[in-house]
């Protein structure tokens, strides 16, 4: 058995539908697509994702079922984004329970690699606009009144770090990782999350970027992302249940 088969799995048509559904719903939950924003027409989306129009139609159907888009007919018709009040808790719980401890650790490893490097580069390259945005998202996280707003402010902070690194590729990776991690991290399960602690971490990272201290920015971010693993692991263990007592 060569490594070829495991490293280069074939793309099943259904997984393409799921991929598109995931990408669009993540963009909606992260606030990258605004409420009421019109999605491009089916042929344009098909071209964008490099799939058949039929695949796009199926994906839009699934997004409609989840209540994330609304389709209107007629001259001013099309598919429009609907931002839900909060993240889809059932989906997130199921996703987290479905992950092995190994997969969870692997996800945090990848996130740590991407985010720490982004912070390191951001300290060397951030524009004044980037730095202001980092502090704005930190403040938004502190004052957020809903779970949805908290998840978005957290995600946007980390995405802004990658943007501040002036890297298109790291930004794309961070957007994808935030789509995976952010909702799960804030699941209201187990011990309540220490919001002030997260805000303090973000503030320190933003300060290091502003001070052009690349070493500190990297170290602080790595520590911050690494602390996600115990949080995610304990939620997963709580949700998995098992033998009661102990």
């Amino acid at each position: 058995m060569s490594a070829f088969s495991s490293l280069l799995p074939a793309m099943a048509p259904t997984s393409r539908v799921d991929d598109i559904v995931d990408r669009i719903s993540e963009a909606i939950h992260l606030g990258l697509l605004g409420d009421g924003e019109q999605l491009p027409v089916e042929p344009t989306l098909a071209k964008h994702f490099g799939v058949a129009p039929m695949t796009v139609r199926e994906a839009l159907g699934a997004l409609r079922e989840r209540g994330l888009i609304e389709t209107r007919r007629g001259r001013t018709g099309g598919s429009f984004v609907r931002i839900p009040d909060g993240p889809p808790l059932d989906v997130l719980r199921a996703r987290l329970v479905g992950m092995t401890g190994f997969a969870l650790r692997d996800m945090v490893d990848e996130h740590s690699a991407i985010a720490s490097e982004a912070a390191h580069l951001a300290a060397q390259r951030a524009s004044a606009t980037n730095i202001r945005q980092l502090f704005t998202y930190t403040e938004q996280l502190r004052t957020a009144g809903t779970l949805g707003a908290r998840v978005r402010a957290d995600s946007r902070f980390h995405i802004e770090l990658a943007v501040a690194a002036q890297s298109e590729r790291l930004t794309r990776q961070e957007v994808r990782l935030q789509g995976e991690v952010a909702g799960m991290l804030w699941l209201p399960v187990g011990a309540p999350i220490d919001i002030e602690g997260v805000v303090a971490d973000h503030h320190q990272i933003a300060m290091a970027v502003a001070a052009e201290d690349a070493t500190a920015a990297r170290a602080l971010t790595e520590q911050h992302i690494r602390s996600n693993l115990p949080r995610l692991s304990s939620i997963r263990i709580d949700l998995t249940g098992g033998v009661d007592g102990g």
Binding site: L32, G34, R156
Partner: protein, 240 residues
């Protein structure tokens, strides 16, 4: 010494580099005049979208022209538009497709795209000057590496907004690097935030922030010239 006489100096290079932004600003000046005319025609009342038809038509007809344009538009100052604290009349182009940029402009919302905090808007307003911001990853807009050129629109002494053009870095960098390549020595184009825009040498990395804006005698620099386009960008040469 014959070589160094044949090679252009920083000022020559800066002049060639500045031609691009100066050309963009001819379009932007025209757009700004249309915005001013719309406001004057409204006689001081807040504008509705319908009042900006001539501006929209100009955007839509100009945008498909220059190869390097990926966005063009007007961003209003607060109070300029009726019932809309933030208002963007901005169009984007991708290949031969064009569409209006729609962002969340609701200031009560956590995801608001508050362009008033962006340097291309803020600096044009606060310093009343041309701005060239970038290159940056524009994930709210074009989703491409972008340089945004902007200038303030003033009506009767009052700031009413900013007109701007998004340029594809991939296109403009090609032209600027050709200019720098005409130099026999190491050269670097640095933006007003002292970040490297492009270079003909491996001694600097694009997007890297220099410890200070280049000046003759500081660091390796032997010849420095301001790009004559009002943006505060600088061309600096260093002997190897």
């Amino acid at each position: 010494m014959a070589d160094s006489q044949a090679t252009p100096n920083a000022e020559d290079l800066a002049g060639s580099i500045g031609a691009l932004v100066n050309g963009v600003c001819v379009h932007l000046d025209h757009l700004a005049r249309l915005v001013q005319a719309s406001l004057r025609a409204a006689g001081g009342r807040p504008l509705r979208e319908g009042d900006l038809t001539s501006v929209r038509d100009e955007i839509v007809s100009t945008l498909p022209g220059p190869q390097d344009y990926i966005g063009l538009g007007f961003a209003a100052a607060p109070e300029v538009m009726l019932d809309e604290p933030l208002y963007l009349l901005w169009w984007q182009r991708r290949g031969d497709q064009m569409g209006r940029l729609r962002l969340n402009l609701d200031p009560r919302h956590v995801d608001v795209y508050d362009y008033q905090t962006m340097d291309w808007f803020r600096l044009a307003r606060d310093e009343n000057r041309r701005v060239a911001f970038g290159p940056y990853v524009d994930y709210s807009g074009s989703d491409e590496v972008t340089i945004t050129v902007s200038l303030p629109v003033i009506v009767d002494g009052a700031f009413v907004g900013v007109v701007g053009a998004d340029l594809a870095y991939a296109e403009v960098e090609r032209r600027w690097i050709e200019v720098l390549r005409s130099s026999a020595v190491d050269g670097v184009l640095v933006n007003s935030e002292r970040r490297v825009v492009t270079t003909n040498s491996t001694r600097w990395v694009v997007s890297q922030r220099l410890p200070e804006l280049p000046a003759v005698g500081s660091g390796p620099f032997t010849d420095v010239a301001m790009v004559p386009d009002g943006t505060g960008w600088v061309v600096a040469l260093a002997n190897s």
